[in-house]
Symmetry: C2
DNA sequence: CTTGCGGATTAGACTCATTCTAATTGAGTT
DNA sequence: AACTCAATTAGAATGAGTCTAATCCGCAAG
């Protein structure tokens, strides 16, 4: 179910960690592997349970720590909907999130540069934004179960 | 500090409540008054404290109930940022939210119809969205302290 | 070697927004 | 005056996330 990291992904992880003064540890590799294996925006608990299959001693606190570290060095994004549990997403390309009202599934929606630009343009002078979050809520005709 | 509802706002409240089979109660009037008095996107706790000045016996559970009811009949919107406490906003026009990283203040950003349309247009076929949430995070040159 | 250092990991306690529960109130009826 | 049914209430319960203090582990210095 959970494959090992490809050489490429391993380098990606290592580079990002080292660049922000963090170490590569077995726990971090395991958590990162889980994130890449199934890109369905898992919650911390889901990551925890999946990672335990591969590293049974892993603790929940460590999963929180790893994910926080990854966010800190730009390896993954947090995804929040209302006040539900935070989900995690290794897709780094700019994208919005679509949440299916029925299934709860989260899908990535590609965000073309011109839409980004038009969004930025609605900010009145004096407002300077680093992060823009866009989330849709609705229903999706099931097609591919995951989100990319 | 907290003025009474204008006749107009009172009718607005009454109409929305009755239309969805709810009753007008003193508690609901008090909470709605608080929301309209200062449009700074208060948290439940802030609403609670402000409303207590006017109705000391009011309970926190009731504030939660009232706000939930208001959301249900379209009188107010919930505003969430990451996993912080939910805030409430009586601005019904389509708008985005800008959250100041430093002060935590939330400002409303008007959302022109063509931007809404271009956003809707990025959804692949099969995706049908009712609600779009857009939130900016950044720094705002203080100007008017409230949002609206 | 083996000792010491500092970051990473861990279990479990803690926080705090929100929800739930069960009892009470109160307005409008019969 | 008794009924009814939603709204209100206080306090308990939930649960995601954070904090704490102890342990672990890789690595560099002696």
């Amino acid at each position: 179910m959970i494959r090992n990291l490809t050489e490429h992904d391993k380098e990606h992880l290592q580079e990002a960690l080292v660049k922000s003064g963090q170490k590569v540890t077995p726990q971090r590799e395991a958590v990162f592997t889980v994130l890449l294996a199934e890109r369905d925006h898992p919650t911390v608990d889901e990551v925890f349970n999946r990672a335990r299959e591969v590293m049974p001693g892993l603790s929940l606190a460590t999963v929180y720590n790893c994910l926080e570290t990854f966010v800190g060095c730009g390896l993954v994004r947090q995804v929040n909907h209302e006040r539900e549990s935070t989900r995690y997403c290794p897709n780094l390309a700019p994208h919005a999130h679509f949440r299916d009202k029925e299934t709860g599934q989260v899908h990535d929606i590609e965000l073309p540069p011109d839409v980004m630009k038009s969004l930025r343009s609605i900010l009145p002078p004096g407002f300077d934004s680093e992060v823009i979050e866009i989330s849709f809520l609705g229903r999706a005709q099931a097609k591919d179960s995951h989100s990319n």
